[in-house]
Structure formats: structure tokens, C-alpha cells
Symmetry: C2
Subunit: 498 residues, 2 copies
Amino acid sequence: MKNWIIFLLTVIAVFLLALLANSIIDRKAEARFAYQPQVEIEGIEPRDSVWGLNYPRQYQSYRKTADTTFRGLYSTSGFADVLDDQPELVILWAGYAFSKDYNQPRGHSHAITDIVSTARVGSPWKEGEGPMPSTCWTCKSTDVPRLMDEIGVTEFYSEKFSDFGSEIINPIGCADCHDPKTMNLTITRPALVEAFEAMGKNVDDASHQEMRSLVCAQCHVEYYFDKNLPGKEGAAYLKFPWEDGLTVEAMEEYYDNVDFADWVHPLSKTKMLKAQHPDYEIFSMGVHAKRGVSCADCHMPYKTEGGQKFTDHHIGSPLANVESSCFVCHRESKDDLITDVYERQRKIKEGTGYLQKQIAKAHIEAKKAWDLGATEEQMADILLNIRHAQWRWDFSVASHGAAFHAPLETSRIVSSGTGKIQEARIKLARVLADLGHNEPVELPDLNNKEVLQEYIGLDMPAEVENKKRFLEEVVPRWLKEGREREAANLPVTSVRNN
Amino acid sequence: MKNWIIFLLTVIAVFLLALLANSIIDRKAEARFAYQPQVEIEGIEPRDSVWGLNYPRQYQSYRKTADTTFRGLYSTSGFADVLDDQPELVILWAGYAFSKDYNQPRGHSHAITDIVSTARVGSPWKEGEGPMPSTCWTCKSTDVPRLMDEIGVTEFYSEKFSDFGSEIINPIGCADCHDPKTMNLTITRPALVEAFEAMGKNVDDASHQEMRSLVCAQCHVEYYFDKNLPGKEGAAYLKFPWEDGLTVEAMEEYYDNVDFADWVHPLSKTKMLKAQHPDYEIFSMGVHAKRGVSCADCHMPYKTEGGQKFTDHHIGSPLANVESSCFVCHRESKDDLITDVYERQRKIKEGTGYLQKQIAKAHIEAKKAWDLGATEEQMADILLNIRHAQWRWDFSVASHGAAFHAPLETSRIVSSGTGKIQEARIKLARVLADLGHNEPVELPDLNNKEVLQEYIGLDMPAEVENKKRFLEEVVPRWLKEGREREAANLPVTSVRNN
């Protein structure tokens, strides 16, 4: 009888333990919560807040891209105004909007705020006004795929920036990278698809791991606006110059072959190239890419919260989150890893810092040569050297992560740019001597942004004043009209019966 | 009864199995053979063959340093004559012995053969003749510590190269790095000990892992001959310029401060620095050093033979032996790893290849300026730029492994050298224009070694003829006298009673 009681008690105890263990290890309830859509997303939904109803963890972590507290190596002094920190850039970009205003980048959430705030896009009072084409919006908003779908791609590229002020009000978000039905990663920007086609590839063949970089490569690449595309005249058609390869030399050759210039430099009269942000291209030449690492592996590492593993959508510097990013593969101390990155950045910065000063001098020396009566023939080689040198310099610095993503490739590019500008300046010295000026050319104060902006003919006080009024009057109107349009047109989200 | 038989048979079978297993797994017999000295080594024994009686595996693997079959990236075409491959180096080293002859390095076994064969040391017929001091022998032979012990360190540095021809006959070997009593790694060259002292450190404090690099750092470093050391006048005293640090800038500053020059360039009149082979310094700035890897970890990886683990003394390129070297830490394919190394080498070579051509031009342009009557004052800055540019270039290339050991540091140095030579050549263009020569300076054929050697005033046919006679007549005599001296003086090795 006694044994029988012990047996029964044991059975009960084991049963209760199993219940407890199951409640501890079972994540099904969490999974149901996490992956069960609450709302049905119709069409191209530009509002993250709607997606967030279904994917609260991803949405909440993505909202943290508004966070600007992380400061890297060159932000420790708190500066955000790059032109103030490195005034000689005003000379390099004379005649181009970057000479007016160039700030350190901020998170995706700020995309709309930052583009309307920069002096680069001007202060257009009315639709159809202003210096920039509508193409400038392409990488800034989830309203872009919606608008492209509604009006057509070429049509999207064919207006003014000011034409879409009230159409584009949601910053970069869910709809830029995700298919709303399957949540698969998807390419929403035609330029990347077309660039793959031009290389004889199909972006649809990309693996999931490749897509974890390619969704970023929709925007984080070198690109240009082709204004002479047959059949698409009148559009500033967004293109990647990838046909001959992704190296700095291959793209330079591409641009040279199609005789493309972003602008003509007003001092040196050089047909200039502006490198955008060839992040994907440079990353693909580094050791992390070679080892199969994707952008998301470091910039969006996996995270666990409440028993749920998900991708951290707080996209930003992996250095702000070494434990989740680097530590997955690297076993060194956090301080060691960060020091390694900063050391690479410092070594590259030494080279680019020197090079950009030489390029500034070359532009001013070339101006002097023109002023003294230099001929086109005398200057042709010199201008080609300046074009190539600044292209290489810009390629190295415009991709903010270059010094880490592919340090040696970046340093190689800087060395080659230094060689090119050397050749320009040696030839300039000879041309100047020929024209009777055999001494160093007098330079404006290369350490003063305001002095240099005046030197290149900018009226910055007027620009700033216009921008102030633009931000007070135009932008709030754009936003109000946009919200009203959304309220009237966008589908009401239907709550699913779960 | 039946069970009893089965039991007995099992006992016997198990006993036999145990015997077999023991004979398979027991390594005691091997260990006794491997680590039991066969002979007692007396004093400083320069002959590897004697050490080899005690340590046959290490000795036999070390003898493989004679093997020259491995070909790296830039040896695939089979060239050994670097000047023939890159003739502009003749200009860079004009007035210095390297302009006569510079071959790709070979293994340790060839140290004596190669130094007496190179045109750099001349062809001295008698003791006391020839261009080189005895200090040139310092890194070539196990006879060096023996001789330093016998006659004194300063005395060793105070003769001519030709004075020790019959004293130094054994190439780099066991006695250079090992204590014969304990077989511990040991420093036999005073320059490293003194360099540590000058930095306020004690090389005796080094850990075993550090010693696995420091024994190499006895020779694989930047060094110079100090001919004005107080109290040691008359000696070409071997020193490492490490007092201010191990970076290229720190050593440059050291040399500038003590106003040192290896030679004065006959074309440009620049007070030149010859970088030797700052392998240890550059290695210490790379990621492998940072992660605690030593030279021996890759160049002398552990190996197992006949059940014995030992250090492979076949010192050479780790690429010849990726399985034992890289694979210890890296899990990539052999081809991937080798491609990674070659890619680094190619990227650095692009920069150094360009830079050395610019330096060659600068020397020739400076000569032209002098010829046209340039003043010391006009040339001072230019010559300092040339000095610094070539020092940086040489620092990057003279350390053969630099492109792999610390690729980004090396590329940084190349960029800075490119900047320095740019400044020299821009100023040269102005000085030349001042002197009435405002056009590119005419250059000899920079692609032809013979043309350039003649251009700088070398009589290479005579050098080659002298060298031939020297190798036929003098060197065999040195060797014969050396062998006789050894037979007469070196202790007979006493066989131990084991």
C-alpha cells in the first residue's frame, strides 16, 4: 500500500514538472504574438506605424534610428558641420551644392527632415521651382515606391524636387525593403535592378544572405543622373555606373567613356565627378564581404527579447553594439575591436586629409593659370588629372565606412589620387611659369569656411535666410497636405480575425 | 570448465591488446631519442651539423632553408634580379652599392654564399681591402657570436669585411638563436639588447612567445652603422634607431636629429637613408602581432613526425605551408587565403611601383637643377622631401613581408611618401623654371638596367669580371682556411654516455 502511494505521488510530481518545464521552454505563445499579422497591409503602405502593428519589435527598434547619441571617432568633438571642420572642401565642391552645406549623416528616421533642411536643395517657394530634380527624393522615403507605382518610374524622375513636397512625407522605412505579403526582402528601387541587368545578372537570383546586403545597395551606392537616356529625355534618370565593374577605376572609365560630368568647376573649369556613397561597392572589396558577411549581419544583428529572436532594426554603427555585432565572430575585447576600427580610420584620414588640401590648391592654381591666359590645350591634361584625383578622393571619403569596410582598397585609392594630383600640380607649376608666374599661388584662408564660401561667390547669409523661411512656411504646408492626402487616399487597415 | 577456458582466453587477448595499444600510443622511446643529447656542446658551436646530432628533426628541417622552389606572387616569372625587373631602382640607389646588384632573398642556408657573391661587397683581393666594414657580416653567420666572444663586440665592428673572410664560414644557424645548454631561445646579437636598453626596457624580461619573434628581430629590423659612437670611434657600430619609437616617422626623426646619412646621392646630392628590412617593426604594427602571433607561429609552425611534435625549422614563406601555418587559426580554403595575401601585395605594389618612378624622376630633375646653377638654399627643402620620400618608400619595400604583415600601415606610408615626392617635384619645377628650364627634364631609359647603371657611372662589366675572379680565387681560399682553423681549434664533440 505504501509503495503504491509513493508511485502515485511520483507520477503527479513528474506531471507537474513537465507542465512547468513546458511553460518555461515553450515559445509558441510569443511566436504567435510576434508573427501573427494584426492588420492586412494593402498595396504599398508607406507608413511604418501600420507595419508596426504587425511587427512591433522590428518597428520599435527601427524607430531608434532617430537616436543620435552614438559618436564615432570623428564625432567626439560634437561637430556635425563637415565644412566647418574641413573648410577646404568648400573649394573642392565650388559650383556644386555640397559647397553650401554638408553635415554628418544621421539615422534613417531623419531622412526627410534632413533633406528639406539642407541648403543643398535650395528653398523652392512653389512647385516647379528650385535647383534639384525630383530624383533627389529617390532614397529618402517609402512614398517613393508608392509614387513610382502610381505615376511610373520615368515620370517620377522627370519632375522638380519641389513637385513632390507633399507626396513624400514618410522617411525611409519598412516598405523600402520588405514585401508586405511575405515579409521577404525585396528590391523596390529600379536602379539596382537595372544595374544588375546592365551587368548581365538578375537580382532575383540573389540568395537571402545576399539580399541582406542588396536591400541596402538600393541606395548605399555610387550613382548619377542620366539626363540623356534615349527615350527618356527630360528625366534625371537614376543610374549606377556599374557596367564595367565596381572598382573606382572601372567607374571612372565608365564616366569618361560617356563623357559625364556632375558639374563644371568654376575655378579650375574641370568637368567634375561627385562620388556619392559607394558603400556597397567598397564593402564588396573588403574581407568581411569576402567571408560572406552581409550589411545586416553587423548593422542589424540578431537580438533576443522576451524569448523572441529577431533582427534589430536599429540600423547604425556596429560600434554602438559590439556585443551583438562583432562578438558573433570575434573573440577580442570590446576596446580592442573599437581601437582596431579607429586605427584604420585614422590611417586613412591621414591620407585623405592631405590629399584634399592638394586638390584645393590645384583648383586655385588652375584658376590662376586661366586668369593669366592659359590655353585649353595647355590645361587639358591638368584638368583630367584633377578630375580623376578628386573622383578618387571623393570615392574614399563619401563612403563613410570605407576606412573600415575595405581599408587597404581605400588606402590604395588615396595613394593613386595623391599621384594624380601631383601630376596636375607639377604641370600647373610649369604652365604658370610659362605665363610668368613662377612662385606658389596665393591661397585664400583654407581654414575658414565663411571666407572660402565668399571666395567662391556664395551668398550664404541669403541662403540661410531663405532656408529659414522655407522651413517655417513651405515644409509645414507640404506635411499638412501630405497627411490630408494620406487620410483621404490610403487604404484603412483592416484588422484580421485571428 | 568451458567458462573457465573462455575466461582465460579473454584475459590473454586483453593482455595482448594492451601490449599492442601501448606500443602504438607510447611515445617515450621517440621522446628519448628526440630529446636526449648525443653530444655535449662546448662553448659557442657554430656548426649546425654538430647540433644536428642532438636535434636531428630540427636540423634536418632547417637544412631545407636551402630549398628555393617556392615562388611567391612576384617570383612567378622566375626573376631573381630585382634591378632588371625594376630598373628605376638603379637611380634611387645611385652612389650606393644596391645600384650594382639586388637579388630576391633566399633562405638562411645561403647567407654566406649570397653575401660573398653580390657585387655590393666588392671583390677584395686581400685582407683590409674592399668597400664594406666587417659589420656587414653581423647577420650572416653563427661564427659572429663566436668571434664577438673571442675578440670583443666593438673590435668585431672595427675591421673590414675582407678581414673575416676565413673566420666566417658557417651560415645563419642554431647558435644564432639557441642557448646550447638549455636550448632556450637566446639573443646573441648585442644590437637588439642595446636597442631595448635605449628604450628603457630589458630584453631578458621577454616571454617565450615574445622571444619567438625577438630572435628574428636580431636581424630582421631597420639598423644603421654608427661611425661616431663616443669611445668607439673607428668602429662601424651596429645600432637600431628605435629610441623614439618603431614607426617610420619616429625613425625618420631619429635619423634627422642625429643628422645621419647612409650616403649622399650623386645625382640629387640628397643625404639619403637606406631602409634595411624593418620586418619586426612593421609586423608589430599589424593585426597578427596585435593578436599575439609570433614570427615562429607562421614561419616555423609546429609539425608532427613519427609521433614527435617539434618546431619546423624550414623557415620560409608560410604560403608554402598554409596547412600548418594559416590553418591553425583560419578556416578558409587554401586558395582563398593565398589569394588574400596576393591581393594585399598587389595593392601595395601598385603604390610603391608608382612612387619609385616619381623618386627616380626627382633625383634626375634635381641633378638638372644643380647643373643649371641652383643654390643650396633653393634646394634645401627639395632635398629634405626627397630624403623623406625615399626613406618611406624604402621602408615599405625593403621589408619584404610588409604588404602582408601590416598592409594598411604600409599603404599609409606609401601615401605619405607620394605626398613628399610630389612636394619635391612641384618645387623642382619652379626652381627649374627659374633657371630657364621650364619643361619636363629629359630622362634616360628608365626601363633598362644597363643603360641606367652606365648613366650613374658604374662600370658593371669590370665589377662582374672582378667578382668572377674573386669567387674563383679568394672565396675558396677563405673557406679552406676556415675549415682548417675549425679542425685545429674547435672542441671535438664528446659523445655522451646515455
